[in-house]
């Protein structure tokens, strides 16, 4: 397990030589998953994201899965656990950009990820996290 304090643009490597980009945008962590995600890498990512939330002051996490071909029960569980862990650290998680074929498959698999907030794309996910009307508009 690696230490928590990484540079702002560090991502999970999981020992497989490729990285998951984790970007900080204001109070939100943007995590972009792409292509094949090995099981060990997914677990490493879970650890990294949770550490980043605790070590910074982010209040939201957006996980962009628009580049992911399939979500099976393992990755689904990791995503749900990332969201649950973030919730305990006072950050909200939005899963963005799920492909329609993935959504159809997850429903038949029986994995509908209740409690995990979703958005059609990253832009809408950011709006969900930063557009809370109770915060009000900053007026001059």
């Amino acid at each position: 397990m690696t230490g928590a304090a990484g540079p702002p643009l560090a991502g999970a490597t999981g020992g497989y030589g490729f990285t998951v980009p984790v970007l900080r945008l204001g109070d939100v962590l943007l995590v972009t998953l792409q292509g094949e995600l090995h099981d060990g890498m997914a677990e490493q990512l879970q650890h990294d994201i949770t550490s980043r939330i605790a070590g910074s002051r982010v209040t939201g996490v957006v996980i962009d899965i628009s580049g992911v071909d399939i979500v099976d029960s393992f990755l689904g569980r990791v995503l749900a656990e990332i969201a649950a862990g973030a919730g305990l650290l006072a950050a909200r998680t939005v899963l963005a950009g799920m492909r329609p074929a993935v959504a159809i498959t997850l429903v038949e698999l029986g994995l509908t990820l209740p409690g995990l907030r979703t958005a059609l794309d990253v832009e809408r996910a950011m709006e969900l996290l930063t557009g809370d009307p109770r915060d009000g508009e900053r007026s001059p």
Binding site: Y16, E36, H38, D39, G40, M41, D69, I70, V71, D72, S73, F74, G76, R77, R99, P100, A101, V102, I104, T105, E108, L109, G110, L111
Partner: protein
Amino acid sequence: MTASRHAAPATLPIGSDADLAWVRQQVRQAAAELGFGLVQQTKLVTAASELARNTLVHGGGGHVVLTPLHTGQAQGLRLSFVDSGPGIRDLEQAMTDGYTSGGGLGLGLSGSKRLVQEFEVDSTPGGGTTVTVTAWATIVPPTRPGL
């Protein structure tokens, strides 16, 4: 001019995380070549991922055999996941949604069954497990009346 489309069965090892990724890629490629649509491909690859992980985690590793099927007009893909692990003691229980012996969500077997057209488990306690699934490419998705 064109090579024979009747590809021979392919056997892939399942012994690590990386093998799971390779199985997913090969199943997707085979399904795409057989004319599976995107949703059908996604379902079959997801089922393959679940079953290959079962082979790895519960069976202690094994292999999968990919067999392209050509029956008249229909194109199909059969996947046999074989391990020589401890076997499944209570198949009915193992097929129940939510039942798990491995710390997962318990959707691997039961969920995979819903993602394919044919599903067969052959397991003897102490004698390993073989799970065989078959999916057929449908050119036009069947529409149900009233939808």
